[in-house]
Amino acid sequence: MSSKPKPLPQPPPESTAALLRELVAHLRENRIQLREEWVRRITESKLLTAMTREEIFAEATSVYDNYVEVLETGSVEALQTYARNLSERIIPRGVETHEVVGIVLLLRDVLARSLFRKYQGDFELLNRVLDAYEPAANRIANTVAVSFVEERERTIRLQQEAIRELSTPVLQVRERMLILPIIGVLDSQRARQLTEQLLRGIRANRAKVVVIDITGVPSVDSTAANHLVQTVEASRLMGARVIVTGLSSEVAQTLVTIGVELGKINAVGDLQSGMEEAERLLGYRVILEESAA
């Protein structure tokens, strides 16, 4: 970009395509300056704080070149692929959506400013250039944002699947006694799967007492509590008694506050007491031998 703006006498471009060509030529010419300006504004706005300055510069260069290419060819495919790769790289580092959208909008503004400066002597031409530039720029911003969000959602989906596949084991610890440690969020689908597994376990192991440990459940809302009640009742229908253990004081408070009917649930403080209670119900007595200690 020329430091002292001088309106270049140019033949009025015939079409949007011609204007864009001119635009692209301008952006290529001033690549280094514009890119530096952009990186400066990214740093100023405190975006991409998770990345080093060198990284930002490297990515900015790629984004800039892709940006210009999209303006030139009108095809966003290459940019889409790049944006997806970029997202894949930066999502694990904690880059947020607003940062990605923010930097693309910044680039749009930086480039628009340079156009203002270049064409400031010819308002008519500036108008036409902006007419050509804005839709393309908005489309680019859109593409990058959508790619980023899609990539994020894909990551989230994969993680959800991974969590779901972490099957909850139903373990037999004594004859006719099962333990079901639940770890993670108890949503409807998981609760259903869990209940089915437990019921099958009850039949297979001929269990009479089941200890469900929810120490690893971070929060219990009314939905999760109702699932728990259903699991307990279904187990009872199969002739097994259920002891729920590991309700933290917060969980207990929540449950009472939201008024979940837990009267049918036999709750015990921790897993150890739960197992002891289960042993008592089954008639086991555990004896500590003096000599072993």
Binding site: T195, E196, L199, A207, E233, R236, L237, M238, G239, A240
Partner: protein, 117 residues
Amino acid sequence: MRVPILKQGEYLIASIQSALTDQELSQLKDDLLDHAGRTRARGVVVDVTVLDVMDSFAARTLRSLAHMLDLLGAATVVVGIQPEVAFAMVQLGLTLEGVSTALDLEEGLAFLQAKAA
């Protein structure tokens, strides 16, 4: 088809052999009450292992049957509810409250014996 009712010591065993219509269920209830009164049974086992569905009528009938038998001095235990059936039942809110349950016939008889002891 009538559900056969077998006498085993002090206990009666009603072993359902196939899916029952509402009418057959009511018939079973009448038969069981009749038998329990005549034989002075201490306990009744209703085996529903073969049922792959339990609707609200069946659940209500079993519940009222258990309460009626209780009045006649006989404990009732429903045995053999399958995992899928149990899950479907709680989803429908049919929890057979106040009715004892056990895994299978053997468990049911053990439960009645433990109760009598």
